[in-house]
């Protein structure tokens, strides 16, 4: 009996080692360990064994089964690994073949620039608001300290609908509308479309965009204006950007300033981009004129504030080095895809 088992085991080992595939190995398992397998046959023959020998034989049979099973499992793992390796080798692809893209669209450069600006100011606690594009003369001019017949009305080349209604020439009327709501303090930016009767060329468009900013609170100072815009310029154009405030005149702010930033192309050394000056003008700003505050129902003795206006196209053209403003309104797919 013992010899029989040894023989079965040796035979099984040979068969297992000769298995060259998982299917074959399975056949071997069935042949030796299956219900009709050889080892099972031995167990079935137990009835012929003397009762006192049965435990010994049973143990022998189990040992044999275990060692065969172990060997089968080991061999199976080996064969599986070999098969996976083979499959992986067969599945090699050309990774340089073209990508399958979900052809996503692109935002307009104006929008990309605007979102950058919006994110900077939202981070500083500003709300983004809007106002009408077709606007009352009152909001566009009068409430901004530009009375009837003020030369500034001519300077801005206004499109008129009638005597009282204009296409807004600036986003500043949104300031007035926000102030009139009477909710203080105010920290807002107001992006939007504005209109001036300029003929279309590489640097002019009768329709363009501005971003207005307004802060009204107690104790707001010109120093706050400087600090805010310096921070804005750094965020938008890079950490090393410096700003320069030059006195200027706007009817709705006093004191007023124009702001230059160091040329982000040359860092201020002077280049073709900044026409050799090292500086690029980017916005106008100032402390809200007390008369404007008063007209909007805010007491200038108690509150002060600052306002600024940025040309969105100016930022977009500068930042993305677009050399012709007309490109922004042609909507050529080959242009838009670059953003």
């Amino acid at each position: 009996m013992k010899e029989k088992l040894e023989q079965i085991k040796a035979e099984a080992i040979r068969e297992i080692q000769n298995s060259d595939g998982l299917a074959k190995l399975n056949d071997v398992r069935v042949a030796f360990l299956g219900k009709k397998g050889e080892l099972t046959a031995v167990l079935k023959g137990m009835k012929d064994v003397l009762p006192e020998e049965r435990p010994i034989v049973g143990q022998l049979v189990n040992e044999t089964r275990e060692s065969i099973e172990k060997l089968i499992d080991q061999t199976k793992a080996k064969l599986e690994a070999a098969e996976r390796d083979l499959k992986l080798k067969q599945e090699v692809i050309d990774v340089t073949l073209p990508a399958k893209k979900n052809k996503v669209g692109h935002s307009h450069p104006n929008t990309i620039a605007l979102e950058e600006v919006e994110n900077i100011f939202i981070g500083m606690g500003y709300e983004v608001v809007e106002g009408p594009e077709v606007e009352y003369d009152y909001y566009n001019f009068e409430a901004l300290n530009i009375p009837a017949n003020h030369p500034a009305k001519d300077e801005q080349d206004t499109f008129y609908i009638n005597q009282d209604i204009v296409l807004r020439t600036q986003t500043s009327p949104v300031q007035v509308r926000e102030m009139e709501k009477g909710r203080l303090p105010i920290r807002m930016i107001a992006p939007g479309r504005v209109f001036r009767s300029d003929e279309v060329d590489a640097t002019h468009s009768p329709s363009f965009h501005q971003i207005e900013g307004l802060v009204i609170d107690k104790n707001i100072t010109f120093a706050d204006l400087k600090g805010t815009l310096a921070e804005f310029a750094k965020e938008l154009f890079g950490e090393d950007t410096r700003v320069k405030f030059r006195p200027h005149h706007f009817p709705f702010t006093e004191p007023s300033a124009e702001v230059d930033v160091t040329c982000f192309k040359c860092g201020g050394k002077g280049c073709r981009f900044c026409k050799g000056s090292g500086w690029i003008e980017i916005l106008g700003c100032g402390m809200v004129h007390p008369r404007v505050l008063k007209m909007s129902g805010i007491d200038p003795e108690e509150y002060s504030g600052f306002a600024f206006g940025v040309g969105l196209e100016r930022i977009a053209l500068l930042k993305y080095e677009i050399d012709d403003m007309r490109l922004l309104y042609e909507n050529d797919d080959r242009f838009l895809k670059q953003f």
């Binding site: 669209g105 307009h108 939202i122 030369p151 400087k226 909507n331 050529d332 838009l336």
Partner: protein
């Protein structure tokens, strides 16, 4: 506004700065210098030479050989082809290695032209004699220059001296951007005052002396101002025995540097004082003034008048005229008349320095269609107190230059005298506004520099009348700030109550629209808000359509930009056409922009501005691609209900069989469809174009960013297919409606999986197959649970005339 540095220095003698230093400092103190031109930038090594000998060139008929004394006894030989040189003449000579600005044809060479020793037809030439053009200027500015050839100096110049200096070309001309509030800086004196204050030097304006003979001007002329509103001040003086002659070189040079052509002494003095004081003046030939009187009155409506440029112009009754006893002799502040202009034969002249209402001059100038240097200055609103100084200064120059005999006295019609303002001053408030700690003494010192007084007792700043822009304490803060230096003001961030930064809800929904469009392959375009009324014809919009009721621009850039759009499609189709025309393939664009719907025509209140989300494509994609984008957007915007589509949209610009209104919760929120081939043709697009237009205010009102977790189904679903044959005119939307209404509580979803028309299906019919999924949240469904709903659905379908296939 331009000034030369030398003219500024005439009033700020201690000023010693480079052009760049001047530019930077003036800009930072508020007089923005846009740029400067060094007149001698391209001139080098040019001296006054005297021709001692001229001989014929041995080998060239048109050339001569000159010996020229260039100072310190040195004589050099120069060969020239100039026709006008004579022995003994003094001429500008550029020496070997020097540079001139350009050719004698007036064309300038950037960087100049270097002159070197050489031979001309074999004869050595060691320099060049120059024409005024080669020196970078023109005969207009140097009228004494010969028409052709070398510039000839007057005899009194010193040989060997710098010719650049003698000609006044050692100067810099600054171009300023003066803001409209600083009327005083439209004159050299105003800018000189600013320069003196900026650099801390003394300002020395000209001392205007008493002028005039013992006669009385009132014996010569009487002035009546009928409209003192429009003419607050009128000063007149008389000059007799006029001797017209060229003005002196120093005056000519200063005018030339400003870009003003010297003409003769009288004209030049007028221009000179206009530049100096910013006060325009006018001279009339007194012998043409009828009745020896001047009347300032409004024109008659339709009055015709010939200005001194010979043009006849038509007035209306708002235009102010200068008249004599019989007729008009000038349009006030704009241009004098041909009938009274100064000629070379003038004997006696009437000098006028007046102050006119700025707004009226601006409007009149527009009406008459004539803008002059004078009107440009008047329209800014001049200081009436300046007029008398200017006219007296002009008379002083007339006497000094010997241009005529000034008659004693001034006729001065001046109603209400304009006084300077007094502004209550509080240094603490100024520091509060600026965020600075500047001492009161420093502030008052800044004021003194620009001739603002301070009343210690009343604590008031005394503002001279020429600073009409200074009205309140904020203005004073700016004066302090610009002399303290904007750069020196510290930087800080606003303190106080924290605020929340955010986008408005509307802008958030727009952002979702943009993101969805871009994920779906659409790029963002932008088009103009105004367009041509012809657009409606292009879009086949009927004559009586409300869309043709528009907001009309009264002063458009042209018909193409004359109405505010009431429909967003023209911009989209124009952009697609541009792409198509440029052979771009498979283009997908979207735009977020307003349309403008008037509440009434003509417009009396603001129109309704409605944001439209417009999508357009040609190439890859069709009606259902568009529909997909619309539904993706609705889903992302929190419109989780079911959109329905009504094919009876009635849009004339869309294909009649391929269009639909988009309906959500019973409201039309937009439309989509294929562009009508006729419209596509009108835009020259020879492909099928699909568009969708979504009305954003509707979407914003329904959008919702709240999300609630519904749980994930844990029990298995049951799927049942329905296969149908139905007449073509039944829309699958009607079938889906049956599912929606009869599906019962367990119908989770349905999906179209087959649609077929053609062979095997009888003509006029289509085969449609849906898969329905039933599921319960709380149990495994058994047939008894969903069978009733299934039966109801099948029954309804059959009632619609749909044949069910088993």
């Amino acid at each position: 506004m331009n000034t030369s540095l030398s003219w500024i220095k005439a009033y700020v003698p201690e000023l010693d700065v480079t052009a760049q230093e001047y530019t930077d400092a003036m800009t930072l103190s508020g007089s923005k210098v846009e740029g400067f031109e060094k007149l001698d930038a391209d001139l080098e090594n040019i001296v006054v030479g005297q021709i001692s000998k001229i001989e014929k060139h041995p080998d060239a008929d048109k050339l001569v050989v000159c010996q020229v004394n260039v100072g310190s006894g040195e004589e050099i030989q120069i060969v020239t082809g100039a026709p006008n040189v004579k022995e003994g003449q003094k001429v500008p000579v550029v020496l070997d290695g020097g540079r001139v600005a350009g050719g004698h044809d007036g064309k300038k060479t950037p960087g100049g032209i270097k002159i070197k020793k050489g031979k001309l037809r074999g004869v050595p030439s060691n320099g060049m004699m120059c024409s005024i053009e080669e020196l970078g200027s023109t005969r207009e500015m140097y009228p004494e220059s010969p028409e052709n050839g070398i510039y000839i100096f007057e005899d009194d110049v010193t040989v060997g001296e710098s010719a650049i200096k003698v000609l006044g070309l050692d100067d810099v001309v600054f171009e300023y951007e003066i803001t409209s509030n600083r009327v005083d800086c439209f004159g050299v004196l105003g800018l000189a005052r600013e320069a003196a204050a900026t650099f801390g030097k003394e300002f020395k304006p000209p001392v205007v002396t008493e002028t005039g003979n013992s006669e009385d001007v009132n014996d010569y002329i009487k002035v009546t101002v009928e409209d003192t509103e429009l003419c607050p001040r009128y000063c007149a003086r008389v000059v007799k025995n006029i001797k017209i002659a060229p003005s002196p070189k120093w005056m000519q040079r200063r005018l030339a540097a400003q870009g003003i052509r010297p003409i003769n002494n009288i004209v030049d003095i007028t221009n000179y004082v206009m530049e100096e004081y910013g006060q325009p003046m006018h001279a009339y030939d007194l012998d043409t003034i009828a009745g020896k009187e001047i009347v300032v009155r409004r024109a008659d409506k339709g009055e015709k008048f010939v200005t001194l440029d010979g043009q006849e112009r038509t007035m209306d009754d708002s235009v102010l005229m200068i008249c004599d006893g019989e007729k008009a002799v000038g349009i006030a502040g704009i241009m004098g008349g041909e009938n009274s202009m100064i000629t070379d034969n003038v004997q006696t002249m009437l000098f006028e320095a007046a102050c006119f209402d700025g707004t009226n001059i601006r409007l009149s100038s527009k009406k008459v269609g004539l803008r002059t240097d004078a009107s440009g200055k008047f329209e800014k609103g001049l200081d009436p107190n300046n007029a008398i100084d200017a006219i007296n200064r002009a008379c002083q120059l007339i006497e000094e230059l010997g241009a005529g005999e000034v008659v004693g006295g001034v006729v001065d019609v001046y109603g209400k005298v304009k006084e300077g303002r007094r502004i209550p001053f509080d240094d603490k408030k100024v520091n509060c506004l600026l965020g600075t700690e500047i001492s009161k003494e420093d502030m008052i010192a800044y004021f003194k520099k620009i001739d603002l007084g301070y009343d210690e007792e009343k604590e008031e700043v005394i503002v001279p009348s020429w600073r009409q822009d200074l009205e309140c304490l904020a203005d004073m803060a700016e004066e302090v700030a610009r002399f303290y230096g904007y750069d020196n003001i510290p930087t800080s961030l606003p303190s106080g109550e924290a605020t929340t930064g955010k986008l408005s809800f509307k802008l958030r929904v727009e952002k979702v629209a943009r993101d969805t469009a871009e994920f779906c392959g659409f790029s963002q375009g932008m088009s103009y808000s105004f367009e041509s009324p012809k657009v409606f014809d292009k879009l086949l919009i009927p004559q009586d359509s409300d869309l043709r009721q528009t907001v009309v621009i009264s002063n458009p850039l042209g018909e193409d930009f004359s109405i505010m759009r009431t429909i967003s499609l023209n911009g989209m189709l124009t952009s697609l056409a541009t792409n198509y025309n440029r052979r771009n393939k498979n283009v997908r664009l979207y735009e977020l922009g307003n349309i403008y719907l008037p509440k009434q025509v003509p417009v009396t209140e603001l129109p309704e501005e409605r944001m439209q989300f417009t999508l357009g494509l040609y190439g890859d994609g069709d009606f259902y691609t568009m529909k997909g984008v619309v539904e993706e957007f609705f889903d992302k915007a929190g419109l989780h209900g079911k959109e329905t589509y009504d094919p009876e949209a009635g849009k004339p610009f869309l294909h009649p069989g391929r269009q639909a209104n988009i309906v959500y919760e019973g409201e039309i929120v937009g439309y989509l469809g294929e562009i009508h081939p006729q419209v596509a043709d009108n835009y020259s697009i020879k492909e099928r174009v699909y568009v969708a237009v979504i009305d954003m205010p509707m979407i914003v009102s329904m959008a919702n960013f709240d999300r609630k977790y519904q749980g994930i189904a844990r029990f298995p679903a049951v799927s049942r297919d329905i296969s149908m044959v139905m007449p073509k005119n039944i829309l699958v939307g009607e079938v889906e409606k049956v599912f929606d209404t009869k599906g019962g509580q367990y119908l989770e979803s349905y999906e179209l999986f087959d649609l077929y028309e053609g062979a095997q299906i009888k003509s006029g019919f289509k085969s449609v197959a849906y898969s329905l999924t039933f599921r319960a949240k709380d149990k495994t469904l058994e047939e008894a649970d969903y069978a009733p709903a299934m039966n109801k659905i099948l029954k309804s379908l059959e009632e619609m005339g749909i044949e069910l296939r088993k």
